[in-house]
């Protein structure tokens, strides 16, 4: 990423700045701190929910708690969590990426196909190919959204169709089976690294990286600024249009690249890839982000929260099976959860807005 020159919100108070601006700055950063705390509260809340699910399920069905079962539960979430990190970056800029499932399908197949045909090439090359394909698709999305000024919903709906079509075209009815893939690749997918499954390590690294970058770097804060500027009429973000475009494009590229990485992970973990791989993942990923507190209207939410959202949804799905709840209820319950999550968000946001107003009013009267 290029070195950021302006950082909108958390910029330090300039000594020469007029008094009013400094006050404004202080108010904004106080608000920011407060929101940060809220987000942290959200993450804590998710952890509590997660703990509750695990404990309740574990009490009813102790088998759920054994290390193996828990490991597999987290493993199931790894791919979705990685994609959710990218999706979060896109959504905070007030955009959306519906094409991630199709990107996953395309890159998983190309990666698997390449490794099948070139068994002597080290497998990381296949992963790089998957990531590059994903990034290229993301770039296409980003350019159409920023340069072409086409709404993200329309662009990614279109590329979701078209890329799935391309995946069908590329696979041409073929399927990649586990036995075609190099063992080293499959071992990497199902193996451990320092006692932790590799895929979980990858997911943790990705989440940590983007959580950190989005939270603490100007680059990341700019994404939030772009997202919230759409809402408040462009007052918060003082970014030039060109820079804003570049940031949004970068967010799409990252989302695409992570979907590509998800494709490589998919191939390594499942070993079976055909043209339909990843169909419907976009809704799982967006659902996870929403449950994780990422506001679909842009400007707020954290990568960590979104990842926790993915873990909560994944754990609930496994828990429902373990609790012997009828299969037919599962989808309905997941849908209900998404709605409850955003409704809760709304209520909390309303309360916190009121709180913020009180605080600033108090500060003003004190000054």
């Amino acid at each position: 990423m290029s070195t950021p020159t302006t950082s909108p919100a958390p910029a330090g108070p300039g000594g020469l700045a007029p008094k009013i601006a400094a006050e404004e700055e202080a108010r904004v950063s106080a608000g920011r701190r407060f929101i940060d705390r809220l987000i942290r509260a959200r993450e804590l809340g998710l952890l509590v929910v997660l703990a509750l699910i695990v404990i309740v399920t574990g009490v009813i069905e102790p088998n759920f708690l054994d290390a193996d079962s828990l490991k597999q539960t987290v493993l199931n979430v790894a791919i979705i969590a990685v994609m959710t990190a990218g999706m979060t970056l896109v959504i905070v800029t007030r955009n959306i990426d519906l094409s991630v499932g199709s990107i996953l399908g395309l890159s998983a197949f190309v990666c698997g196909d390449f490794l099948t045909k070139n068994p002597d090439v080290p497998w990381p090359v296949g992963v790089v190919i998957a990531v590059v394909i994903g990034a290229a698709c993301g770039l296409l999305n980003g350019v159409l959204v920023t340069w072409g000024r086409v709404p993200a919903l329309v662009v990614t709906l279109g590329t979701m169709y078209a890329l799935r079509g391309v995946a069908f075209l590329v696979t041409d009815g073929r399927q990649i089976n586990a036995e075609d893939l190099p063992d080293s690749f499959l071992t990497a997918g199902s193996g451990d690294l320092l006692g932790i499954p590799t895929l979980i390590v990858v997911a943790l690294l990705v989440i940590a990286l983007f959580w950190f970058v989005a939270r603490d770097y100007a680059w990341g804060r700019q994404l939030y600024a772009i997202g919230s500027s759409g809402r408040s009429g462009g007052q918060a973000a003082k970014l030039a249009g060109l820079k804003s475009d570049r940031r949004v494009t970068q967010a799409f590229v990252i989302s695409g690249a992570l979907a590509g990485l998800g494709g490589a992970m998919f191939a390594a973990r499942y070993g079976t890839v055909d043209a339909t791989a990843g169909q419907g993942y976009e809704l799982r990923v967006i659902g996870a982000a929403v449950v994780g507190g990422v506001a679909i209207a842009g400007g707020s939410g954290s990568v960590l929260g979104a990842a926790l959202g993915a873990v909560v949804l994944g754990t609930i799905q496994t828990a429902l099976i373990v609790l012997k709840i009828d299969d037919f209820w599962q989808q309905a319950i997941v849908g209900l959860l998404i709605i409850v999550a955003i409704a809760l968000d709304r209520l909390i946001a309303k309360q916190s807005e009121a709180l913020l107003r009180q605080r600033s009013a108090r500060r003003r009267t004190a000054a």
Binding site: D66, S69, G165, A178, I321
Partner: protein, 363 residues
């Protein structure tokens, strides 16, 4: 003035894009078709077809429709059908929907009916939704064969059954008994989608079978649905093992489900304790048979199902048969086949694969 020129340029641009898409569409698929036929059928045509298809018309035009494009099992079947039609000197084209929805199949079938091929060979996504359009096709003299997944009998003339529903259901029950061990115990089924007609019919037979005294030690605790989605099936397998600690065997009558369940078990502490069995393809399951996760599973050869379907369609379109019970025709390398009750032809009992024979199969 200027604006309208831009709009015209724009229209032209669209036209070019669209035109290019359509033209490349024709081009590339044709290429695929040609290269596909070159590899699959042309050598066989000269050797086997000459004598066995004496009364079958040359140059038949047949459309093959899978449940969904890109489904590897269906692709194998269709490969068999195309090979059979080409052996008879006809041409077969594969046309299928991109999703496994009944309505997409209906819409395509209507267009195919308009193309007036000699015959349609179809694996139906829904037994009833396709009936009206298939009836219409038959009224126009198009012969209809279903394979793998049947439509209601009035929609088609012949159904190629991979094995009778009864025999598959019995096989699944037997697999459950044999893999659960001598003491018996709990077994679970991991199926495809909740609406899959094949799987539902087999499971129903299996459940009746399990009520018999010889199966008294086996208890079917749960039918789970993995939606033929790898990850969902995987998750279901995991959930089953946690929910039912005494589970002895997972029976999965779908190729996606059995592979996902085997992969989960092979990588968990349940390996060797919980058996996985059901219906799967040898290429997908070889790894798990060799590492001891899976002792046995079964399947018919999907290419043979398609191959028989192709010959049945050719025989129907050449008026060698009409689809009545008792009629028989020569089906290339599969020999003479006779039409049974309800216009069904049964390919034969499924092959059971174990460590001893799995390397002899490649599909």
């Amino acid at each position: 003035m200027r604006d309208s020129r831009f709009m015209r340029v724009l229209a032209l641009l669209f036209a070019v894009v669209l035109g290019a898409a359509v033209i490349t569409g024709c081009g590339s698929t044709k290429d695929d078709e040609e290269s596909g036929s070159a590899s699959s059928g042309s050598t066989a045509a000269e050797t086997t077809a000459a004598d066995s298809s004496a009364t079958i018309k040359k140059g038949l035009n047949v459309v093959v429709m899978p449940k969904q494009l890109g489904n590897p099992y269906e692709e194998l079947e269709d490969k068999g059908t195309v090979a059979a039609i080409e052996e008879t000197g006809g041409t077969a084209k594969i046309q299928g929907p991109t999703d496994a929805a009944a309505s997409s199949q209906v819409s395509l079938l209507r267009s195919i009916t308009q193309q007036k091929p000699d015959a349609i060979v179809l694996a139906a996504n829904d037994p009833n939704a396709v009936v009206p359009v298939l009836k219409q096709a038959q009224q126009r003299g198009i012969k209809v064969v279903t394979q793998d997944s049947d439509s209601a009998p009035e929609g088609r003339q012949i159904f190629i059954n991979q094995a009778t529903t009864q025999s598959i259901g019995e096989q699944l029950a037997k697999q459950a008994l044999e893999t659960a061990g001598s003491a018996g115990g709990e077994v679970a089924v991991l199926s495809a989608t909740a609406n899959a007609p094949n799987q539902n019919a087999w499971i129903k037979i299996m459940q009746t079978e399990l009520k018999k005294p010889e199966y008294s030690k086996i208890k079917l605790v749960k039918v789970a649905y993995g939606d033929d989605d790898d990850q969902k099936s995987f998750q279901q397998a995991q959930g089953l093992l946690s929910a039912y600690p005494n589970l002895k065997s997972i029976v999965s009558p779908t190729t996606v489900g059995i592979a996902a369940a085997a992969r989960y078990v092979s990588d968990s502490k349940y390996k060797g304790k919980v058996a996985v069995t059901g219906l799967g393809t040898p290429n997908q399951m070889r790894k798990f048979v060799k590492d001891g996760t899976v002792a046995q599973f079964a399947l018919w050869n999907p290419e043979d199902v398609g191959y028989l379907g192709g010959y049945a369609a050719a025989a129907l379109a050449s008026d060698v048969i009409t689809g009545k019970q008792g009629e028989s025709f020569k089906a290339g390398k599969l020999g003479t086949k006779t039409i049974g009750e309800n216009g069904e032809i049964v390919l034969g009992p499924p092959t059971t694969f174990t460590t001893d024979n799995i390397d002899k199969f490649d599909f």
